[in-house]
């Protein structure tokens, strides 16, 4: 069973929302409705998140991604559609039941950290447990563990305003982890941080995820970030999900010009893998006896592949873990990919191959 499923979700602000939903479902444009004073923030959003996945929703500001996120834990009530969490329809729950779900099963990390300035780090991290009524001793132990997990051991008695932005967000993360919720909602959680610290936090999130295996819905406006951490990515525009797929899907097969314009800035060498650029089934080149070449795996990032190719006197061979040859990567192809031509070329080649 999927952990989280969004089913034809709509969120419309303003008057006569039901009629607006009907018209949107019939294909009406968001701008038409806006002229009438109704704002459609989310239109017909649907996706499935499996346990242990990091699901990223990417979009520019105003695309409805934050509204979508707030419907997932019931902070906003959908105008239409359902949110299924472990098979339970959250939209059908009473406020009390919904609060119980939020307290124990779903936690949230905010863009500007949202730490309580009148509580110290430990009290902040223990907040969710305090709401649940966990006894002080137990909640402090669990909060301390969560803080340790986020690399904040020894900072328990400090105050939020004494910490740097990155550390504050670690407290925010610890607060979310302390309740041991299954689902983590992260609302542009790293956007307010400096680029270096942001990258650091992304790495740490990935490391934590390997240990804890949570289900995470992550909102961002930064496609690089989306591709770095997302198992699956939904690209939103004007309230609708325009493309849903893996990072490679989006990079290699952008659904429309809008997505294509986005991926121009993406560092493709850190997203694309050897399997995406190799000529599948090609025979490896003859190798001299004392050749300096190495083979690579199919999941090797193009960036790393370049380093290998630079030392090899011939195209690099791609093998799986058993040593079976999957294909080769000609150096020209590698250069083409780096030059940004790749997506179309590969597309064309694949089309020809299929035909």
């Amino acid at each position: 069973m999927s952990r989280l499923q969004a089913d034809h979700l709509y969120k419309v602000f303003g008057r006569r929302t039901d009629e607006a939903v009907r018209r949107l479902a019939d294909g009406a444009d968001r701008d038409e409705l806006r002229a009438e004073g109704t704002t459609a923030a989310v239109v017909d959003a649907g996706f499935v998140v499996e346990p242990g996945q990091i699901f990223v929703v990417m979009g520019l500001s105003g695309s409805g991604k934050s509204t979508l996120l707030r419907m997932l834990n019931g902070l906003l009530e959908p105008t239409a559609g359902r949110v299924l969490f472990d098979g339970r329809d959250l939209t059908a729950l009473s406020p009390r039941e919904l609060r119980a779900v939020r307290a124990t099963k779903i936690s949230m990390v905010f863009q500007h950290f949202a730490l309580f300035p009148h509580r110290n780090v430990l009290e902040n991290a223990a907040y969710g447990l305090e709401v649940q009524g966990v006894p002080r001793a137990e909640r402090e132990t669990r909060a301390t563990e969560a803080l340790e997990l986020c690399g904040l051991a020894g900072w328990e008695k400090s105050w939020p305003d004494e910490l740097s932005g990155g550390m504050q967000q670690r407290v925010g993360l610890a607060r979310a982890l302390a309740t041991d919720a299954d689902l983590l909602l992260m609302d542009e959680s790293f956007s307010a941080l400096d680029p270096l610290i942001r990258r650091d936090m992304q790495d740490q999130l990935l490391v934590l995820q390997q240990r804890l295996n949570k289900t995470i819905v992550f909102i961002t406006h930064d496609l690089n970030e989306a591709m770095r951490i997302g198992d699956r990515i939904a690209v939103m525009r004007d309230g609708r999900i325009v493309q849903l797929g893996t990072a490679e899907d989006i990079l290699v097969r952008p659904a429309d010009d809008y997505v294509a314009s986005f991926i121009q800035d993406v560092d493709r060498s850190r997203v694309l893998t050897a399997s995406a650029v190799m000529t599948a089934g090609a025979t490896p080149a003859d190798c001299p006896a004392d050749c300096s070449c190495r083979t690579v795996g199919p999941d090797t990032l193009v960036a790393d592949l370049c380093a290998v190719a630079a030392l090899a006197p011939h195209p690099v061979t791609v093998e799986d873990s058993e040593g079976t040859v999957l294909g080769v990567v000609p150096t020209e192809r590698l250069l083409g990919v780096m030059g940004g031509l790749a997506a179309k070329d590969i597309e064309e080649q694949e089309v020809t191959a299929r035909a």
Binding site: L75, A100, A103, F110, H112, A114, V131
Partner: protein
């Protein structure tokens, strides 16, 4: 444009409200009075200096040693100018008003912060309450609640409520929306969101509101003094009425001491009780460079130490208060026959000299006859309203039929006239006797240059000002030559005093009897054409049914009479003895006039 009878509508709705809801107003009045009496009893029980010590320890705890020392010095000053009881009465009034205001304002503010509709409805109502001059609330306040502290407290509450509501609403609204969302995202109930997140974060702003409520309450005490609120406000009001600069200053400074203390303490309390404030204070301490001297003065005891200090002082205070109370009860030796049997009688008075003199004369006489007498100083309108409402039994200073005509016309059905005890009074223009050649109104003609063309008048609403402008000036051909300066009675008296001391020529509106004639050497300008009209008599007025309820006192008051010599003598003795010792002065005067007490209140 047709005249909208807005005032009449309000007038009749006040009457209607009083008729329909008198039980409610009585209940409110009883509740507020009880609260006030309780707090006042606690505050004025300890020895003044001990209580000043308690307040100083609190200041030491909240703000440091310097604040504690200053607080003690300030309250010791209040005690030394003999305004301690008044200050405690005022403090009680402010505390009761603040307490009630907060009980109403904070929930209203929370409600307004949560609902846009409530906020939108409240805003104009609060504006109305705050901008309506507070004096306007007093008269309906007296009609509903009777004279005394209650209308003062109610007017203070109405006046101080808006900032309390506004600051609470503002404080909650300015809490970062993301924090509230964070609380909700972790499943916090709305009630807990309010208690754990919104209120703690709004607390500094709410405390600023509390501070404003207290300051507005203190600014109202003088106005409350006009309706019998007593305390420092009463002292200020009496000082204004008698141009007593010394008393005015002492009472004013005492109010300032209270205001400073309450302001600084609520400010510090705001920092102490809110975690956010404590955090900010800790940061400031860490940042400030430590000087050894400053450290001593900024030293603050641990809360426990402070608490122990306060408790010890309070116990001592309680002990001495108990002993002092049992040992020092001054028994007013009731000489002669006790015919009053402790019956309670309440006298109201305007702080005019003949009013004070006759009121304290009767207080002394009635107490000698075994009555229990309570006196209340009031503004004229409040006095008549209180008398008509039956909260007062009688007053001795009604100038009838001219000066107080409007009050008499309004309330004559609810009052009974026990006759005139002094008269006739007269209205006149007066000049200092060093001004030569001016003895009658006729002599003023052509001398405008000498008096700078001015006649120093009193309140433009006063009856004598109308007679002066419309009749006197016309008849003597002084129109155009003299300008009548509108002002106030204290203003006129101050101007007279100033000119008198510099021996400058001045002409003022005055009336007899008036203490100014004994204080300064003045000439009444004769009125050969009789334009001022016949004078008033000073009447004793009682509430309807008083004489029937108290036939003995009624008979005494009906026969009450003083000559001009007796009255001015009594006034002079009171003036000499000093403020706050009126009754003592009356005793001295009665001793000098043997047999008079028997004559005024025969057994």
């Amino acid at each position: 444009m047709p005249r909208l009878p807005l005032g009449e509508w309000v007038d009749s709705s006040v009457d209607w409200l009083q008729a329909q809801f008198s039980w409610l107003f009585d209940a409110v009045s009883t509740g507020v009075t009880g609260l006030y009496d309780g707090i006042d009893a606690v505050l004025s029980a300890p020895q003044p200096l001990l209580f000043a010590g308690i307040l100083a320890v609190v200041a030491w705890w909240l703000r440091g040693l310097a604040a504690g020392v200053l607080a003690f010095a300030g309250f010791a000053l209040v005690d030394s100018v003999q305004l301690w009881d008044e200050a405690m009465a005022t403090l009680s009034l402010v505390l009761v008003a603040t307490l009630v205001t907060l009980v109403i304002a904070v929930p209203l503010g929370i409600w307004a912060a949560r609902s846009k509709t409530v906020s939108a409805v409240l805003r104009p109502v609060l504006d109305f309450m705050q901008t309506m001059p507070a004096m306007v609330y007093l008269i309906p306040g007296i009609i509903f609640f009777g004279v005394g502290v209650v209308p003062g407290i109610i007017a203070t509450i109405v006046f101080a409520l808006p900032p309390g509501v506004r600051m609470t609403e503002l404080g909650i609204r300015q809490v970062d929306g993301e924090l509230v969302e964070a609380a909700e995202a972790f499943g916090t109930t709305p009630r807990d969101t309010l208690l754990r997140v919104q209120l703690p974060l709004a607390l500094p702003t709410i405390m600023a509101g509390v501070n404003q409520v207290i300051m507005l309450g203190l600014s109202m005490v003088v106005i409350a003094g006009m309706v019998g609120g007593g305390g420092l406000g009463g002292a200020v009001y009496r000082a204004i009425g008698n141009v007593d600069i010394g008393l005015g200053f002492e009472a004013g400074v005492s109010i300032v001491v209270l205001a400073m203390y309450l302001d600084r303490m609520t400010g510090a309390l705001g920092r102490q009780v809110s975690p956010l404030g404590r955090r900010a204070a800790a940061k400031a301490r860490a940042a400030s460079v430590k000087r050894p001297g400053a450290k001593l003065w900024a030293h603050r005891p641990q809360p426990v130490t402070a608490l122990v200090g306060v408790v010890v002082l309070a116990l001592v205070a309680g002990g001495t208060g108990f002993l002092g109370g049992s040992g020092g009860s001054t028994s007013t030796a009731a000489s002669g026959k006790n015919s009053g049997h402790g019956k309670k009688i309440s006298i109201g008075y305007i702080p005019w000299d003949e009013g004070i003199a006759s009121t304290y004369l009767w207080k002394e006489l009635l107490e000698r006859r075994g009555y229990e007498v309570d006196t209340k100083q009031l503004e004229a309108g409040a006095l008549y309203t209180g008398l008509a409402g039956g909260q007062l039994d009688f007053q001795t200073d009604a100038w009838l039929p001219v000066t107080h005509e409007q009050y008499w016309e309004k309330y004559k059905n609810k009052l009974e006239d026990l006759g005139s005890w002094y008269g006739p009074t007269s209205l006149e223009l007066a000049v200092p006797s060093y001004v030569k050649g001016v003895d009658s109104l006729d002599d003023l003609k052509g001398k405008a240059g000498q008096f700078k063309g001015r006649i120093v008048g009193i309140e433009p609403s006063a009856g004598m000002m109308g007679i002066l402008k419309d009749k006197v000036l016309k008849e003597y051909g002084l129109e155009g030559e003299y300008k009548v300066v509108d002002g106030s009675t204290p203003g006129m008296l101050a101007e007279l005093k100033r000119a008198y001391e510099r021996k400058e020529p001045v002409v003022v509106t005055l009336w007899s009897p008036h203490w100014a004639y004994s204080a300064h050497d003045l000439k009444k300008l004769t009125d050969p054409k009789g334009t001022w009209g016949k004078g008033d008599g000073v009447h004793t007025l009682a509430r309807k049914g008083f004489a029937a309820d108290n036939p003995e006192v009624g008979a005494w008051l009906k026969n009450f009479e003083l000559t001009e010599k007796q009255l001015t003598d009594l006034e002079a003795v009171i003036q000499e003895t000093g403020k706050g010792k009126e009754q003592q002065a009356v005793r001295v005067w009665l001793d000098r006039n043997p047999g008079l007490a028997e004559k005024l209140a025969p057994q």
